[in-house]
């Protein structure tokens, strides 16, 4: 679906002065930024965008499903994973055994094939993709949170809270949950990347929501329209770069978290 309204969108200037200014900026980034690489990527992206306004419109439009899926799925993954992890770790016993068996099953189900099958039969909508991801991806968070709860449970302050007569609900909500929150967020931010990649893959394979243009859909469009053989790099490079940058942003956020979480790393 080629949008007709793209001419209204502003185009970056392509004059010689513009190029020089951009090169100067790039050089500055390279010199001062530790992650200059990301800078180059962004720059390359805008150069490519400049080459095709039509694709620019789709790119902007395609960001919405990617980010929606990413954040909504990550939220549910973190929520389910954390709850399961806390409950399994706190109560132990048969409840723990059952929940962890469930996690094993979720682990044994091949993730992307399952999403494809489920989405294909539930109907190709964004929310079905989110649903299937939440159904399968909670397991990693749950395991890590559970392990964390098991060590927290032995800590003095949890023991003391029990001696003070805290109810299980209070123990889990007031004492355990805030202390596993950082690690849940860490896994949540990783899940953002996962969800975006999954949505892109599903769309690329043709099981995406046909009502929405997403980056994955754009790539599929390029692929079946023979963009590869035609050498139309400006058609399929930008969406991929967008996905890559957003996923990388997720990684960097989680790495930043990790450094806050485990200050030991900071010394390196």
């Amino acid at each position: 679906m080629r949008s007709g309204s793209v001419d209204a969108l502003p185009r970056p200037g392509q004059t010689w002065a513009g190029w020089r200014r951009a090169a100067g900026t790039l050089w500055g980034v390279l010199q001062h930024d530790r992650f200059a690489f990301a800078g180059i990527c962004i720059y390359a992206l805008f150069v490519l965008i400049a080459l095709s306004g039509d694709i620019f419109a789709q790119l902007v439009y395609g960001a919405r499903p990617a980010l929606t899926v990413g954040f909504v799925a990550a939220f549910f993954v973190a929520l389910i994973g954390t709850s399961v992890g806390i409950i399994a770790g706190y109560y132990g016993g048969w409840l723990d055994a059952v929940l962890m068996r469930l996690a094993d099953v979720a682990f044994g189900i091949p993730y992307l094939p399952f999403v494809i099958v489920l989405v294909a039969f539930l109907g190709p909508s964004l929310w079905n993709i989110v649903l299937t991801m939440a159904l399968l991806l909670w397991k990693d968070t749950a395991r890590v949170v559970r392990a964390q709860v098991l060590t927290l449970r032995e800590r003095g302050f949890v023991e003391a809270a029990r001696v003070l007569g805290s109810s299980p609900r209070r123990l889990m909500l007031v004492h355990l949950a805030p202390n596993v929150l950082p690690i849940a967020l860490l896994y949540g931010s990783l899940a953002v990347g996962w969800a975006i990649l999954t949505e892109a893959s599903v769309s690329f394979l043709g099981f995406g929501d046909p009502a929405r243009i997403s980056w994955g859909y754009m790539l599929q469009d390029a692929y079946i329209s023979q963009a590869l053989s035609g050498g139309a790099y400006n058609w399929f490079i930008p969406p991929g770069v967008c996905i890559m940058l957003v996923v990388m942003a997720g990684y960097f956020i989680s790495r930043g978290y990790e450094e806050l979480l485990f200050p030991r790393l900071r010394r390196r």
């Binding site: 055994a97 800590r155 003095g156 302050f157 023991e159 003391a160 809270a161 029990r162 001696v163 003070l164 007569g165 805290s166 209070r170 007031v174 004492h175 805030p178 202390n179």
Partner: protein, 344 residues
């Protein structure tokens, strides 16, 4: 510190008011060793944490429990506070069996019995300020109004010599030293006005120079409030400083029990003798003594026949191999579980 009114006691408890505050009757706690989900366990496949322990703590007295790591002293403390329940035997608190407590009765027990944990750096929830940590017991038990809780917290801080109290209210645990945190731990335990306080190695992770401060505070508060205390330590010199009565544990059993001075001055059980001989003393004139006990790693796993100390005992007799020794009196209020003093 502002105290709530005297607690109302049920008639049954009033009857027990003259008896010991805490009494353990043949308490056992076995932990199953981890096996496969459906595998059957042989009789020896348990870890005998506490293995048939009986004693009583009279009201207002202090009991010290000493022994090597793994002897079951921490398990015993957790049993007395009903963090875990015994495999067999009974624990009576004011004459009431702890395992029968439930709901409101259990909550009432939680106001009477409190704990000081070992590691000061883990004693307070890292996400709580000192004010939150100290107010939590009040919130749980609905003590005081929202307004006067702050006053109570400030009073509690002052009581454990954290002055000026205002300076500590908004601090997080990582901003305090180990000694200060352990004082907060003590203050928190006292917020609900308990009558029984168990302390599990409360100073073992503190620096030598600040240990005395915490110990002195505990002693002073226990005396002022007529607290019944139980103090767990692997360090006999600390037990001697704090406790009137001493109990030596070995592999989940009571080896010796008696007035602290009697136990330390004339130890009767060979294990107590071994501990005392091996303990270092700050006396350069006393070289390291010779020890004749065989080297043997004690293990709490296995069927456990006879005296638990038999493999390391220099005075072992044939009877020790088959019959577990009962506690017998070896002096006034002084008991030892050893066949040397028995009828054999």
């Amino acid at each position: 510190m502002a105290r709530p009114g005297p607690m109302t006691r049920a008639p049954a408890e009033a009857a027990a008011a003259n008896g010991p505050l805490v009494a353990a009757e043949a308490v056992q706690k076995y932990f199953p060793l981890r096996r496969g989900l459906f595998a059957r366990r042989a009789p020896g496949e348990y870890l005998r944490g506490v293995d048939g322990v009986s004693f009583a703590i009279p009201r207002g007295s202090s009991l010290g429990i000493a022994g090597e790591s793994g002897c079951g002293k921490t398990t015993l403390a957790r049993l007395l506070l009903r963090l875990i329940t015994p495999t067999a035997g009974r624990i009576l608190f004011e004459g009431v069996d702890l395992s029968t407590l439930d709901g409101p009765a259990l909550l009432a027990f939680r106001r009477r019995a409190q704990l000081m944990v070992q590691n000061p750096y883990e004693a307070i929830n890292p996400r709580f300020t000192m004010e939150q940590a100290l107010a939590e017991p009040l919130v749980i038990h609905g003590i005081g109004t929202r307004e006067d809780r702050l006053d109570r917290v400030i009073a509690a801080l002052a009581q454990v010599n954290l002055r000026p109290a205002d300076a500590f209210l908004d601090k997080y645990p990582h901003q305090l030293s180990g000694g200060q945190l352990q004082r907060v731990g003590l203050a928190r335990a006292l917020m609900v006005d308990p009558i029984f306080l168990a302390a599990d190695e409360p100073v073992s992770m503190l620096d030598v120079s600040v240990r005395a401060g915490v110990l002195n505070l505990m002693k002073a508060i226990a005396r002022a409030r007529h607290l019944t205390t139980m103090y767990i330590s692997h360090d006999l010199s600390l037990v001697r400083y704090v406790c009137e009565t001493t109990m030596i544990m070995y592999l989940g059993t009571v080896a010796e029990l008696g007035p602290t001075e009697a136990v330390l001055a004339s130890p009767k059980h060979p294990y107590t003798q071994l501990l005392l001989a091996a303990a270092p003393v700050p006396d350069p004139g006393r070289p390291l003594p010779e020890i004749t006990a065989p080297e043997q790693v004690p293990t709490p796993i296995g069927p456990g026949i006879g005296c638990p100390f038999q493999d390391r005992c220099p005075q072992v007799m044939p009877v020790c191999r088959t019959v577990p020794p009962p506690l017998v009196f070896v002096g006034p209020k002084h008991e030892a579980a050893c066949h040397l003093y028995g009828p054999h």
